[in-house]
Structures are given as structure tokens and as C-alpha cells.
Symmetry: C2
Subunit: 476 residues, 2 copies
Amino acid sequence: MTETSEAPQPQAGLEPGAEAGRVLKVALLGGGTVGSQVARILLDDAEALAARAGARLELVGIAVRNVDAPRDVELPRGLYTTDAEGLVDSADLVIELMGGMEPARTHILAALRRGASVVTGNKALLAQDGATLFDEADANGAELNFEAAVAGAIPIIRPIRESLSGDRITRVLGIVNGTTNFILDAMDTTGAQFADVLAEAQRLGYAEADPTADVEGLDAAAKAAILASLAFHTRVSLDDVRCEGITKVSAADIAAAQDAGLTIKLLAIAELVPLEAAGGPGGDLDGAAAVPREGVSVRVHPTLLPRTHPLAAVRGAYNAVFIEAENAGSLMFYGAGAGGAPTASAIMGDVVTTARRLLAGSPGRTGTATRTLPLVGPEAVTTSYSIGLEVADQPGVLARVAAVFAEHGVSIETMRQRIDGAEPAVEGAGRPEGRRAELRFVTHRASEAALAATVADIKNLDVVESVTSVLRAEGV
Amino acid sequence: MTETSEAPQPQAGLEPGAEAGRVLKVALLGGGTVGSQVARILLDDAEALAARAGARLELVGIAVRNVDAPRDVELPRGLYTTDAEGLVDSADLVIELMGGMEPARTHILAALRRGASVVTGNKALLAQDGATLFDEADANGAELNFEAAVAGAIPIIRPIRESLSGDRITRVLGIVNGTTNFILDAMDTTGAQFADVLAEAQRLGYAEADPTADVEGLDAAAKAAILASLAFHTRVSLDDVRCEGITKVSAADIAAAQDAGLTIKLLAIAELVPLEAAGGPGGDLDGAAAVPREGVSVRVHPTLLPRTHPLAAVRGAYNAVFIEAENAGSLMFYGAGAGGAPTASAIMGDVVTTARRLLAGSPGRTGTATRTLPLVGPEAVTTSYSIGLEVADQPGVLARVAAVFAEHGVSIETMRQRIDGAEPAVEGAGRPEGRRAELRFVTHRASEAALAATVADIKNLDVVESVTSVLRAEGV
């Protein structure tokens, strides 16, 4: 922190940019875990950052709710202020780390309206109201960067917005929530039930006291919306994401997956889906460029993956994003998805890059939504499914269940049967009364509608005790 | 290709940029595998690219040696020209895909001197003479982008230059040559010898008829120089890279690695190395910012890795780059390292991004070398080693070998002994005359000098038949 004493003092009255590329005034909104780390880096690494950015990045203040609250990181007290509005008004570059909708949204819009650029990690705000923010940035020639909003330290936003800007991304599969990956990985390793592993994760600090946002998939859904918007150059908001968490994943599901060479991950999935001819009956679509021939499906759900898939090797609380693009093929980006220092690394990458562009005189567009693709519901998406059933252990059950699949056009790829933990008895041999068997089916690709109809009819069979699980699979 | 007929015609006499963000003239140098794919994308995806870049990217010509040579991809014949110089003179953005030193170097410098921006995948040129190119770009306010030069389609240059610009990278480990990864992976899977697997790789098209540049590590060394320059903000050229290929890796090395839970990968390694106090005896370094306290070690060699390391899971001809940074922690970038379409994806990402900045009016610096760090030789670097010995199977051999290690201060972590493929006989029991045993040592971290002295003295022991392998290890 000795560098701060050598830093030029704020010069009141100078307009943003008026110092000809020598000093950029940086305002920090939020003094929590990530904010403290960002401030630490700005102060401790001032020399190196100045060399890389081309200007000294001067931290002019940190807006917090309570100036006197205790902090993790020791920083000069004079930096703290409760006047976020005044701080935003004095800055060339605003780093928003308050989180949540308000007052973060108001401060970001105020900064952009002034032409100041903004770096944020606020996934909830971006997922819910990103369009308003991007429009405001474009209208004022300001930059809005948000690498930290998805997958923490992993550079994923910039690669999608820039490195892959000349390619056509067709699918994004992401492990974007560390808590749920930690839980599923621990269930996979120990064989324990969800509730027990969650309790342990809470004890270790990998899960919050109220884990809802993580385990119900809501955090992943916000990130899925952001990834889908960027990957497909269209606008997707949180409400467009179908979301299912991991609370229903059982130890039996995990064990069955292992038997089949699979693993279960909570995936954020965004993919382009070909649409039925949209030109009406007999309509000729050639040249009808205004009619989109593809839509976007965005969803979060527990997903069976082959153990050989690169995402299957992502253990513990790590994150990874797997991208399929027309020319690039398969890419994967892997790293720490959360934590103060990793998230601060992503924020600081945005800060230095944004500073370089401000100094060059042109924030400029980095291309967000260039088109409007329809969001498609489950009816347009097909996946493989794994279905677990508890059935009466009596002759002819499999045939009756298989007939229901056939009726709905759902093709079975594999079936396994277990009777009270043992191998099945020979068909027709004497069986104890009331004994139950477990059946696990993996289907070929089927629509959700066909699958739902199949499951509903299976439930109505008198020989079926219960449907114990329905899981989607990718790449099997 | 129908889009090209709708494209605005070139308007002679207009200065670059004078068309107010509507059309950018793109010149392509080189019509080979990657060049053809880049041209195809520019023509076929013109609409989408224009939307993303903010201007129509007009391919004004493709410079080739022979206009009439047969091509993989069908393109309008009128695009081809042998006048590379004239083409460069007419372009806002030059894509160089000729490869090699000349005339690529001359054309790139001419373009930059005119203020045109350049996108290239020319790793050899960048590794050998990158400094000259960057200086010319900076002097003329032009951009020089080269995502395709390292690891094909994998976005790695931009993440290092931009996403990690606010962090401190401490180490880069890369599988950056697909041919050698394919060979080592096949040796690992099949147990075959190097020569046999190489022949098979050549038959399958994974290795060139003259495989020298790949198997001797020269291709990887060029990429290592580029990665080290960017990661550490200093200048590293090909001559600074110590390089050892995979030709001496034997099936026995691979088998021994497997036994120990390890795998062998050809890694490009670039790392910061703390230096001895450079201020002289008793010198106080505080405030002596001009004296670097760290140096850079850049090397390519076959490396033992634990099978649990993320790089160990990179199979076949895939590439991956593993980065350790102070705040971000561990990151990995994975994907296709070569091939026409994947490399074209990387080129096009650079083209669109460069176009956006040209339209914004400011190519601007993206920060290359901001400091000069000393390159350090092997004496400053310590790693673990695996050493294989063939010894006489007689009592006391192990003690004598161990004494040599101890003499040079090299600490042994593990030792395994195999006698003619069987487990060792009980010490002191009768042994057949002339029987040999194989010893495999893994050491703790040691300097290369200490290791070399140890190996030299071990070779001189009368009980040692030969030193069968010396391999470095990371992360064991």
C-alpha cells in the first residue's frame, strides 16, 4: 500500500479524459469480499497496472452503506464514503460490486449516461435487465463490461464476445455454479444423499445458510441467460430460462449413473434449435432473411454426461464452460468460479482493458444483440432421458412399460433391472409376493412432450409403484 | 457466395476509414488451407459478420503465388492475384496467412507502416521477430492481432492480453502441439514405441512426412516464446527457449509413468522465477524498482504429470493451456489446436474485433512488453525428476546409487525396482549371474546442475549399466 502515497492526488474540476491519458479516476461501488480485493489490487499493484493500462488508475473512493463497518482487507479509511451518487459523478470508470437490482441499476445507468464506462459482476441485474443497460451504454458511447458475472475468474465473456465473434456458436454447456458442482461431486464420491452433503457443504462454507438460489438452479439460470445472449447475439432474460435444481437428485440416481459410465452435473444449456419452416404451408423461405429459421433454447437442469466428456472431469467447486462452434469445434474454459480474489481478477481484467480503450478515445461497441431470435420452449428441443421406475416384480411388467414408450414414439436405448439390490430372477420363476424391482431406461433423443406423455401413462400402469427419477442426458 | 454480388463495390480513391464505418477493405495474403477457410467465411457469412463488426468486411483479394493452382474451396477466380504488394496497399485490414519469414514480414511491416491493421497466425515470425512488428504497430497506431498463432481455435492470446491484464500470471503450462500429444497419447494407450506410433500418425495425417519441427519441440518452442512474452509483459524470442522433443521417450518410460499414476506430455513451460538478490552483497533492494527480482524461464520438454492434473485429460491431437495467476488461481483453456476451420475461427475473431476498433477510430495499444525481465537458464530453475537406471542385480547397488544422490543434495521422493519384469528377490538370496534390475527414482525439486552432476556420477558407478531415461515432472 506504499504506492498510494506516490499516486497523484485527485484534481477537482478536471473533466473525465482531460488528463490526456495519464490518470483515470476509478470509483468502486461496494466494499464486500470482491470489492475489498479489487481495492487491494488497485492500490498494491498500481505500478504494474499503470504500465499495462497506459494510465494510472486512481481509486477515488469506495461507496459503502456503513463507513465504519469492519472489513476483511485493511484499506485507508478516507477512501470510504456513503455518497455513491457523488462518487459516480466524479469517475471515468465505475466498478459496480453492490450486487442486486437497486441501487446498483440506478448508479450504473447514471454512470453510462455521463459517458463513463462501467465494469460490473452483477449477474442478477444483467440477466434481468441487461437490455436497458446495453442500450444506455450504446447511446452514450460508453463501455459496459462484465467478465466477473459468469464463472468468476474464467475468461468466458470476452472470448465469446470477441474471440468467437467470427464464428457461429451452436451450443454452450456450462458448469457455472460451484456450490451445486461441489455437492454433486461429493455425492458422486461418497454415495451420500443430497441433504447430508448439503449440510456438510454448509459446514465447510461451500453452501450458504439459505442455499435456495444455488440448489434450485436460479444462480445458474441468470448466468445461462447472459451466456445465451452473447453466444447467439440475441436478447435472453432470466424469465426465458427453464430451470430445475438438484434437490431431487438422489444417491440412487448417482449410483445408477455410475453403473452406466455417466456422471450427473447441473448444466446451464443454451443452444440453437432449428425451427419448423416459418413461412406457412408451402412457403418458400429462400431469401426470406427476416424469418428466423432457428430459435434459442436456454435451460438449467441436472444432466447425465458420459464420464469421458471434458465437463465430467470438473471436480469440487470448479466451474467450466464448454462451447461448440461451427468452425472452432469444441472448446472448454475451466477455472475457479467464485471467491474474492478470482472474481477480482476478472474485474481487474475488465478495468485495465476498458481503461486502454478510454485512453485510445473510443470505447466503442463490442457487439451484443444484433438480431432477435425466438426463444423456443421444450416442445422444440429433444434430448435423451434416463427414467427410473419402481415396479412390482412380476412377469410381463417390462413388456407393458416398453409398450407405453413405443406408443409415444420414444425409443429405448438401454434398460437395466435391479431386484431389491440383486440381479433379476429368471422370468417366470417363483417370486416372493410383493417384491419390487427397479427399472432404469435411457432413451434416444425425444421431445419433452413425448417424454412427459410417456411418463404420465407409465405412472397410470397398475404394476408401476412410482417413477423415481427423470433425468436429461447430453452426449450419451 | 450469393452475398458478394450484393456487396458495395470498392470505391477507389477513398482513404481507409473514410467510408464512415460502412465498408472495410480486407486483403488476404495466402490461399492455403486456412486462407481458403477464411475467405469462405468472409463470403458466406458476410451478413452476420457485418452485423457483428458494424461494417461490411469486403474481401478485396487473395494474394497467392499461382493464380491457377487447384484449391480446396471454390471461390471466385477474380479474387486471386499475385500482386501482394498492391493488395496490401489497398486494404484497411490485412490478414497474413503465408507463413514463414519472408515475404510475410515485409508485407506485414508495409501494412502497419500505412496504418492498416494486421491479423496473422504466423507463429514463426512472431517468435523470431515479434518485437519489430509490435514496434511498427505501436509507431503507427495500428493493431497487430495473432490469436491463431498459438493453440489454433482456442482463445488464449486475448484472454492473456486482456482478461488477465489485471492479474499477475506466474506460470503457463501448455500442450500446444497436436502431433506430439497425439503420439504420446497413442503410446500411453497402446504401449507401442515412439517410432511405430509416429509411422501410424504419419499414415493418418496427424504427422508430417518430415516431422522434425513437431517431434523435436520446435513448433512448441515458438508458441512458448509468444505465450511467455504476453504472460510476463516482456520480450522473449525463440532463441531464449530451451527445447527438447519427444523422440527419446520410450514405451518403458510411459509404462513406468503409468505405474506411478503419471502421464507424459510435451509441455511448453513459461514461469516466473525468483532471482537471487541482485543488489550486491548486503544491498538493500527496497525502492530499487529498476532491479528485477524475478526472471523468466521458458522451456519445452516431455514432462511427467499426475493423471489427476487437468492437462493429463487432454487426449489425441487436442491442445490446452493451463495458467496459474496470483488472483485467478488455476485456469485451463482447451480445444482444437490446428486444422483449417478451427484456425480460421481464431483469425475471424481477430478480424471482427479489429474491425470494431477500426470503426471506433482507435486501434490503440493492447499492452505487450511493459518491462524487461531477464531470461534465466536452467541453473535458476528447480523441478522434480524421474530417472531410470539399468543396474546389475546384486546386493548393495541401491545403497551406492542413493549415496550419489545424497552427495549432490538431490533428495529422493520415491524408488521402484523391477528385476527382469518380476518383483525383486529378497536381498541376499541367491541370484542368477548377470541378471539386471531396473531402478526408477523420482526426486524432490532439484536444480538441473545438481541433477546433471548426479547423473554423471551415477553413470560412472561400475554397477550401473546405463541411465535409461531422465524426465522432468510437474505437480507430482
